[in-house]
């Protein structure tokens, strides 16, 4: 455990070191860039609240990726599952608006629809694996890509709001959006909801029988079968994984953006997977890891506005952190040896 912590510190420090070096080399105002990156997201309340808001969708996707991961499945379709979530949430919210419905029940219906859509997409891969053994890792990606193409087509084509300039559906009316907690900042109810979901996932994984069975299934499928654990837990984990990604997508539509637009998931599925991997398989680590990623995005954006840097620096920083996070020899020597003994690549 101690080794793992050390590896995490080295990984996160390397990622921040890259930011510092990049600011020093590429910016005409290095000190301003460093301030914008490291300090501004925390002293500027608007920036801080936006950071929290964007961590909400990310956290949901990460919780989902983590759940599938615990059951031994790599869900690479998070991006597509979030995308169908955005479409479902927008369709239900606009449908409610047409019928004059608004308020909490209508918003809940939109979020549930997003969860169902994401879950259904993940179910395809889960069923395929259970019936034929086709790897979830491959089918979830393929179905996800197809879904993204379909959602982009629908949102930018037949469902497009003809009066809007952008490729997107009509704006969600005020009464159907997630209530703002600190206007004018974008912080909405999405953030507290994501915390509740995180608590629910942690309770499931640590406090329930099914959570333990899920872990056993992920660790050793043969042993789990011998112990009488139903492989269906694996399929349900995948469905829950897709549902959480779908909810993450719905937060984008019902919160920050206020409408479904083309290409709106912008990598939250992949970033969610990265957050889950950095957090390790316990749900507890997902919140700090999601906040860390949201901070990198926010800091890089601030630095790009206030000092002439690329906002995409955050992608490099995430990559560096993820590249080193599992590096055993950055941790204790015994862990490195253990890995080699296991013959892990």
């Amino acid at each position: 455990m101690k080794g793992r912590t050390r590896a995490r510190i080295v990984a996160l420090a390397s990622s921040l070191a890259f930011a510092a070096i990049y600011a020093l080399v590429a910016s005409s105002d290095p000190m301003g860039a460093l301030y914008a990156f490291f300090v501004n997201p925390f002293v500027n309340s608007y920036a801080f609240y936006s950071l929290l808001e964007s961590s909400a969708s990310l956290l949901c996707c990460a919780l989902g990726a983590g759940l599938a991961f615990r059951a031994g499945a790599f869900n690479l379709g998070g991006e597509g599952q979030a995308a169908v979530g955005t479409l479902a949430a927008a369709l239900v919210a606009l449908g409610c608006a047409d019928r004059g419905l608004s308020g909490a029940p209508a918003i809940c219906a939109a979020i549930v629809a997003a969860a169902l859509a994401g879950g259904a997409l993940a179910l395809l891969s889960a069923v395929a694996e259970e019936k034929t053994g086709a790897q979830v890792m491959l089918t979830s990606f393929l179905f996800g890509q197809a879904a993204i193409i379909g959602v982009n087509w629908a949102v930018g084509g037949p469902l497009k709001d003809p009066s809007a300039n952008l490729l997107g559906m009509a704006a969600i009316p005020e009464g159907l959006r997630l209530p703002l907690l600190a206007p004018p900042s974008p912080l909405s109810l999405a953030f507290p909801i994501s915390l509740v979901l995180a608590a629910a996932v942690i309770f499931f994984t640590r406090g329930t029988r099914a959570g333990v069975e899920q872990r056993l299934l992920g660790k050793n499928r043969l042993f789990a079968r011998a112990a009488g654990i139903s492989p269906q837990i694996g399929a349900w984990s995948m469905v829950a994984s897709g549902a959480l990604a779908g909810i993450g997508g719905s937060f984008l539509v019902l919160g920050q953006t206020g409408r479904a637009v083309k290409d709106m998931t912008g990598g939250i599925g992949w970033n969610g997977l990265a957050v889950a991997l950095i957090a390790g398989s316990d749900g507890l680590g997902a919140l700090p890891a999601a906040l860390f990623f949201a901070w990198l995005d926010s800091g890089a954006r601030q630095a790009s506005i206030l000092a002439d840097l690329s906002p995409d620096a955050s992608a490099v920083m995430k990559g560096i952190a993820l590249l080193l996070i599992t590096a055993a020899s950055l941790g204790s020597r015994s862990r490195a040896k253990a890995l080699h003994a296991k013959g892990k690549a």
Partner: protein, 292 residues
């Protein structure tokens, strides 16, 4: 009609060639027992490096070399983290895929002041020259993997048939499996880099997001082709044909649906067809296992 058929054949080959080279590289890592996930990232940096090299006015050959170097560089990162520092090879590969577009964007902004399309006319090449160049490279790679001593040792170090004992077998024969795995990752990175460079050469520009998940499709092809070189190649050809079919359909028909053209949905065809093929193939194989 005939015109459409020849253009369909040509565009199938154009789509399949980069995919095949990337997939054969990935096959090398799978045979060595540690599949490279970073093919997509290597293709992205490869495409960008080719466009960057072409800013100096160089043509296809040096573009492909630049792509190979860039892909190699990225796979050095992954291979180093995984095989030297002991990181999980899957996680490190995923990291490279997240890192690659960010790195390209930073470099592009620093060097050319744009994060968008990087036009590079001198790189633009006709489909035939790209297809011939990549086919030759594919052939070389297949021969290398199946006929050379290095290729055989590579397989011994991963020994797909008996993964558990592969390492022991290799060690008994005095082969350092780690060194072979690292070499396999470098080969895969270079191959994917060239594949990416050829995408940029096809349109004479680097366009952000131009790989559209081809690196992942290359990995699917490795599984569809049952980890054998020629079937992997065939999987790539079929996928290339599906892409070409979707493109042809888009240029021929227009089924208007409320302001959108439903034919655009054909773009999803290659992904859905590949998923169905994968599932169907696994099902057949499972049925065979059960009957035995």
């Amino acid at each position: 009609m005939l015109d459409n058929l020849t253009s369909l054949a040509l565009s199938s080959l154009s789509s399949a060639a980069p995919l095949a080279l990337a997939a054969l590289g990935a096959l090398a890592t799978e045979e060595a027992g540690s599949l490279s996930i970073s093919i997509e990232g290597s293709m992205i940096v490869g495409a960008f490096a080719a466009a960057m090299a072409a800013q100096a006015g160089s043509g296809l050959a040096s573009g492909l070399v630049a792509g190979a170097m860039a892909g190699l560089g990225l796979s050095c990162l992954v291979g180093g983290a995984a095989l030297v520092l002991g990181a999980d090879v899957f996680v490190a590969g995923l990291a490279a895929n997240i890192l690659a577009p960010g790195l390209v964007s930073i470099l592009s902004q620093a060097a050319f002041g744009t994060k968008g399309v990087l036009a590079s006319e001198s790189l633009r090449s006709g489909p035939w020259s790209i297809i011939v160049a990549l086919s030759l490279l594919c052939l070389l790679l297949i021969l290398f993997l199946t006929r050379s001593v290095f290729g055989l040792r590579l397989r011994a170090s991963g020994s797909v048939e008996s993964r558990a004992s592969g390492e022991e077998v290799a060690q008994a024969a005095g082969i350092s499996s780690r060194r072979y795995r690292l070499s396999a990752h470098l080969i895969a990175g270079a191959a994917a880099g060239i594949a990416g460079a050829s995408l940029a050469a096809g349109v004479g520009a680097y366009v952000p997001g131009m790989t559209t998940g081809r690196g992942w499709i290359a990995l699917v092809a490795v599984f569809l082709g049952r980890r054998r070189a020629w079937p992997v190649l065939l999987s790539c050809l079929i996928f290339g044909f599906l892409i070409a079919l979707a493109n042809l359909g888009q240029s021929l028909w227009n089924w208007g649906v409320g302001g959108g053209n439903a034919v655009e949905l054909l773009q999803a065809l290659p992904y859905i067809a590949t998923a169905i093929a994968l599932i169907a193939w696994r099902r057949i194989e499972k049925a065979k296992e059960e009957s035995v």
